[in-house]
Symmetry: C2
C-alpha cells in the first residue's frame, strides 16, 4: 500500500506540472481567493484551533507554546493579510537571468523556473502553514506541508479552506498537500523522497533541523540555528555599542538573529563594562563571563566552552573580553554558526577586516544583528533564513524558491 | 586518533580563511606556478602514472579504463594548459550582486564569496585532480580531493607537485588536500563532515553518485546522470532531425548529455523511420524499439521499461513512436533525469510548449543535447553538470563554486 506521504507527494508532483504553466495573474487570483476564504471561514478555523489548544492544555503544553499555537480573529486576519502581501510581490518565475548567443548560432536563455515540489517541515505555529503555502504557490511550486502534531486540527482546517478556495481558479488544489500522519516516521519518509520532492526546508528548533540535515537524501535548505556575536572594538562609541548590543540581545531573545555572546575589547571593557553590564542586568539578563569579566564584574558566573556553543534564545548572555580583533575573530570562527555577526567600531580598517574575514550570511558594521530578516532587508516575505552556503544564504525571499533552466534555440546545430 | 580525512579537512578549513583574503592576482600567480610545475615535473608525474597503469594491468583493468587513466607528455601539457585557461577566466569572488539602501539608512551589499572547503569525490582520470583543484582555488576555496584508488600514485605525485609550486606564493599549500586512504570508509567519512566541508561534489559513474547522495549529510551538488531524449515532431525537417538525433547518440555515447531514447511522432516515423534507422545501424548502434517501431523495422528487439530507465552510455538506443506531443512529454516526465531534452520541429508553438513544460537543466529546440557543456556554453571551464535544482543547474562555471555574503553597513541602527 502506498503511504500517505508518497501518495500526496505524487499528487503534488502531478500538480507541479500544471503550476509550472500558470501565469502570474492566475497565481495571484488563486492566492487572493485563499486570503478571502481564510476570512470567510475564520470561525471554523478558530474552532479547530480550540481543539488543538484544549489537547495542548491537557498534555501540559507550556503557556508560551500555547500562545504561539493560538489563533484568534486578529491573528487570522493577519495571516490573510500576509497572503495579500505575497500577491503584491513581483513574481520571479520567468525572469531572464542571462542570455548569450554562441558563435555557432545557438541562442541560450537562462530563466527562472519553479523548483517543483517543496517539502516544508515545521513546528507549532499554524501561520507557517499559510505563509509557506503562499510563498511556494506564488513561485509556481507545489508544497507538501508537514506541521507539528500540536497544530494538526488547525492545519487540517486551514488546508481544507485553502484547497476549497482554489475551485474555480486555474491553480490545482493538489498543489497543496498536508501530511496528517503525526508519527515521526512520516517526516523521515519525506526526507528520502528523492524524485518526488525537489527540496526540503525545515523550520523549527535545533533538534528538528538536525534530524532533517542528518537524515535527508533530498536536497535541504538548512535554516535557523544562530549563535550570533557582537564584538565591541577598542574605538567603539559607548552609546552606540551599548544600544546595538542591548538590542541584539534583548529586543527578541527567542529568535535566531539575536546575540548570544558579547565580545569586548579589553580597553573598552576597562572603561565601560560595569555600566554596560548594569543595563543588561536591569533587563534581567543573566550574565556569564570569562575570568577577566568576572574580575571586572565580581560575582559573575564563569562561562564555559559549552555556554559559548549554546544558542540560548533566552535572557542569558556570555561575555568574553579579548586583547584584540584577532582573538575576537578566532572566537567567532570557533563558536559562530555563520549566521549574523557584528562589529561596533569607529576604526574603518578594523571594520573592513571583520567584514571580510568573518564567514557568515550577514556581517554588520555598527548595526544590530537583529536586522537579518527578509522583511528588514525589503524582500516583503521570508521563507526562512538559510544558514548554509549553497543555493541561498541569509534571509530567503521568493527567488530562493526557484531554480533555473537553460532554454536553447538552434537551427540544426550539432556538435563536431 | 584523528583520521586522515578529518585532519586534512581541518587543515583545508584553516587554509580557507587565508584563501578568502587572496586577491585575484595572487590566486592567478599561484595557478600559473602550478601549471609551470606540472611541465617541469612531467617526467616524474608520468613515472608515477606508470605505477598505476602497471597495477591496473595486473588487476585486469579494461583497456578503455587504462586509456582514461594514462598520462603522457601531451596529456600533461593539456592539463597544464587547462590551468592556464583557468587563470584567464574572470574571478567571480567579490562581485557585487545586489545593493540596497534601506529606509533606516542601512546599506546592504550582497557579494560573492568563496564557498569555503569543497570536497571532490571522483574516479579514475588524474586530470580531474588538477582541473578540480584549479577551479576551486581560483574561486578562493580550499579543496579536499578524493580520487579513485586506480589513480592514487598519479594523484599523489600531482598533488605533491602542485603543493610545492605554492611555496613562495601567497596561496597556502594546505588549501589542496589529497585523501590517500583508498578505503570506501574515507569517502563516507567525508560525506558526514558537516562543519568542515561546505559542499561535496561527486564526479563519476551512477553508483558513486548514488552513494554520495544517499549518505551525505554535507550539502551535495549532484552531477552526472543523464537519460536524455530527442523528440522528432511531425513537422520536423528530415535532414535536420536525422543529423541532430545521430549527433546526440553517436558523437560521444559515453557522456551524460548523449541521447538514450529517440521519440518519434508516428507521422514522421511512417515516412522516415526506416531511413533514419539505417543510419544508426550503419554506425553499429543497437536499436530497441516499441511495438510500432518493430512493425516498421522488422526484427527490432522490443524495448522494456527498464531499457527506457537505463543510461546506456553506449551504442544502444531506444526508439518509441508516439501519436502526439503529449505522449512524448509524458514519456520524458516519467523516464527523464531532468538533464537535457530536445525537440526537433518546424512548429513554433509545439517547440515553445516542449521548452516550457519539460523540467530539465537544458531544453533544446532544433539542436543536439550534446551542447550541454560548460565549454560549449562559453564558461571556459566546467566543474561538472548539475542535475539537481538547488544552487546550480546544468553546466557549472566558476560562479557555481561561490556563495554569497550580506555586508551590512550602519551607523548605530537598532531594531524597534
Amino acid at each position: 500500500m502506498t503511504s500517505e506521504v508518497r501518495q500526496k507527494a505524487t499528487l503534488a508532483q502531478d500538480a507541479a506540472a500544471i503550476m509550472n504553466r500558470l501565469t502570474t495573474e492566475q497565481k495571484n487570483t488563486a492566492l487572493s481567493r485563499m486570503a478571502d476564504a481564510l476570512l470567510t471561514e475564520q470561525t471554523a478555523i478558530i474552532a479547530a484551533n480550540k481543539l488543538d489548544l484544549e489537547r495542548g492544555r491537557e498534555q501540559g503544553t507550556s503557556p508560551s507554546l500555547l500562545d504561539r499555537l493560538a489563533l484568534n480573529y486578529d491573528r487570522v486576519a493577519a495571516i490573510a493579510e500576509g497572503l495579500r502581501q505575497i500577491v503584491e510581490l513581483p513574481d520571479p518565475v520567468g525572469e531572464l537571468l542571462e542570455h548569450f548567443d554562441r558563435p555557432n548560432g545557438l541562442k541560450v536563455n537562462k530563466v527562472r523556473v519553479p523548483l517543483g515540489v517543496i517539502g516544508m517541515i515545521y513546528e507549532a505555529r499554524p501561520n507557517v502553514t499559510v505563509d509557506a503555502a503562499g510563498l511556494c504557490l506564488k513561485t509556481g511550486n507545489s508544497v507538501v506541508l508537514r506541521g507539528g502534531s500540536a497544530a494538526i486540527e488547525s492545519n487540517r482546517k486551514i488546508v481544507e479552506v485553502l484547497k476549497q478556495a482554489l475551485s474555480n481558479t486555474e491553480m490545482p488544489a493538489d498543489a497543496i498537500q498536508l501530511i496528517e500522519d503525526s508519527d515521526r516516521a512520516s517526516v523521515n519518509e519525506m526526507l528520502k523522497l528523492n524524485g518526488l520532492l525537489d527540496v526540503v526546508i525545515p523550520r523549527g528548533g535545533a533538534s528538528l533541523i538536525r534530524n532533517v540535515v542528518e537524515n535527508a537524501t533530498v536536497p535541504v535548505i538548512e535554516t535557523g540555528a544562530g549563535i550570533c556575536h557582537t564584538y565591541i572594538d577598542e574605538s567603539a562609541d559607548f552609546t552606540m555599542a551599548a544600544d546595538i548590543a542591548f538590542n541584539a540581545k534583548v529586543q527578541r531573545p527567542s529568535v535566531c538573529n539575536s546575540m548570544e555572546t558579547l565580545i569586548v575589547h579589553e580597553a573598552f571593557a576597562d572603561r565601560h563594562l560595569s555600566e554596560l553590564a548594569e543595563r543588561f542586568q536591569k533587563a534581567d539578563v543573566e550574565l556569564r563571563g570569562c575570568e577577566k569579566t568576572a574580575a571586572l564584574l565580581p560575582g559573575t558566573k564563569l562561562v564555559t566552552d559549552e555556554d559559548y556553543a549554546t544558542e540560548y534564545n533566552d535572557y542569558i548572555m556570555n561575555i568574553r573580553i579579548v586583547p584584540n580583533l584577532d582573538t575576537a575573530l578566532a572566537h567567532i570562527r570557533r563558536f559562530g554558526t555563520k549566521h549574523s555577526e557584528c562589529i561596533v567600531t569607529e576604526n574603518a580598517s578594523n571594520a573592513e577586516r571583520f567584514i571580510q574575514d568573518i564567514d557568515a550570511a550577514a556581517v554588520y558594521h555598527n548595526a544590530s544583528t537583529r536586522f537579518t530578516d527578509g522583511f528588514e532587508f525589503g524582500f516583503g516575505a521570508e521563507i526562512g533564513i538559510s544558514t548554509q552556503k549553497l543555493h541561498a544564504r541569509g534571509p530567503m525571499g521568493l527567488p530562493a524558491l526557484t531554480s533555473t533552466k537553460y532554454k536553447v534555440y538552434g537551427n540544426g546545430q550539432i556538435r563536431g
